[in-house]
Amino acid sequence: MDKIAIQLTNISKKYVVHHERPTLIDNIFSKKNKGEFWALRNVNFRIPKGEKVGIIGPNGSGKTTLLKIIAGITTPTTGSVITNGKCVSLIELEAGFHPDLTGEENIYLNGLLIGMTTNEIKAKLKRIIDFADIGEFIDTPMYTYSSGMKLRLGFSITVHSDPEILILDEGIGIGDRDFQKKSQDKIQEFFKKGKTILVVTHWLDFIERNCNRVIVMKKGRIAQDGSKSLVAQYRKRLLHP
């Protein structure tokens, strides 16, 4: 059992479709029939530790919802999720930074937020700062940072949290050209290290090059689950629908 990184059993996710922001008054006085939308229906899979999984499919097929459920950001309507090990996603990298606090203060806050301990952050502080290439700005308040610097710092904190499961949702290349190379290298390092990785992207070449398993989603269900030869099939279908 301990070789399993992620196990999803009968996962379904229902969203309530509302055309305007709901208000309490509306809810009490009018019984508008609200639409329902199933973003995921009965999804089952098991990912062993160290597997690199690419998830592809058209827009609205439920890929991002699936990642959010695995990361624990939202919960499924039915079914169960089991994840073994720290799970971190490279999304909303700048979220949680407070503009009035210094870079260092923000590193502590953000590190705790994604599940690091204070001692762990203390030990990795220098590496985080060096990788983000923030320099002397580390002691100045965050509002003086460029957006590139914030993104770099967010990325650096996330990758140094040393997750066992890494989730990549589109954001594969970030920052200026130099940092894009650096972040790519870091992600490649994760791929080589035997970490469990889930990727959602429309960049099919990336998946073909880096993943050993491909899941094709269609209308909230798993359409295909297999080796990376599925990417070629998928590409063919895109060209000749």
């Binding site: 309490l24 809810n27 919960t75 996603s89 806050l109 994604i114 599940g115 204070t118």
Partner: protein, 256 residues
Amino acid sequence: MHIRSPAVKFYLVFLWAMTEKEIKARYKKAVFGFLWVILNPLLQMLIIGFIFSFFIKIPNYFVFLFTGLLPWGFVSLSLSKTTPSFVYERTLLQKAKFHKSTIPISIILSNFFHLLVSLGFLILFLVVAGKLPFPHILLIIPTLIWLLAFTIGFSLLSSSLQVKFRDINFFVQSLLMLLFYATPILYNLTLIPPDLRQAFALNPLTSIFELFHFATLSQGTINVQTLIVNALMTFAIIALGILIYNRESKNFVDWL
């Protein structure tokens, strides 16, 4: 403090970090950060005291007002800041899995810290003036805990509902306006005709503010019946707050 459970310990460490952020951020913005904590209720006391001392005859009315305005500032600031807090922090909620309740509770704790500082000034003033009522003043500790518990319970309720129903904030704003006059802040219950005093039992803040006045100035009386009703209502609000938060927080992200 030795805490065995690592999960509880991590929660407390994270809550403390969030609270520290709130406090630090406030003082980095305003040079006179600390001064404002005390200046704001002081100015309110002066203007309200000037007007209402024509109508309300309470000995040491200005000090009386101040002891009520401090906890009121805490309640109103906390509730108006926490109610929309989950909505404001939407990107944070979408980033990672963490204890979401730390968002409103850290705001409340930072305000509570400011309340303690300004209460310290008040007590210092009372000591210097030779008016500190002992042992009445010891009552301030359970009163503060009650106030804190009420505020956390109410804010868990209002902030959780605000995610789904965006008009909750308007309710809270107008409720605060009404509560300012419906709570014994500008007056105390001895000024209210006895038949009407019963109605004050419906406001859970009544006993908290009467206790504040009693603890710092030994003014007013504590009605045990009102106290019990208020305490039960506070428990109900806290229980409802935790219940709604637990039910709704799992799916906050779907509504943001």
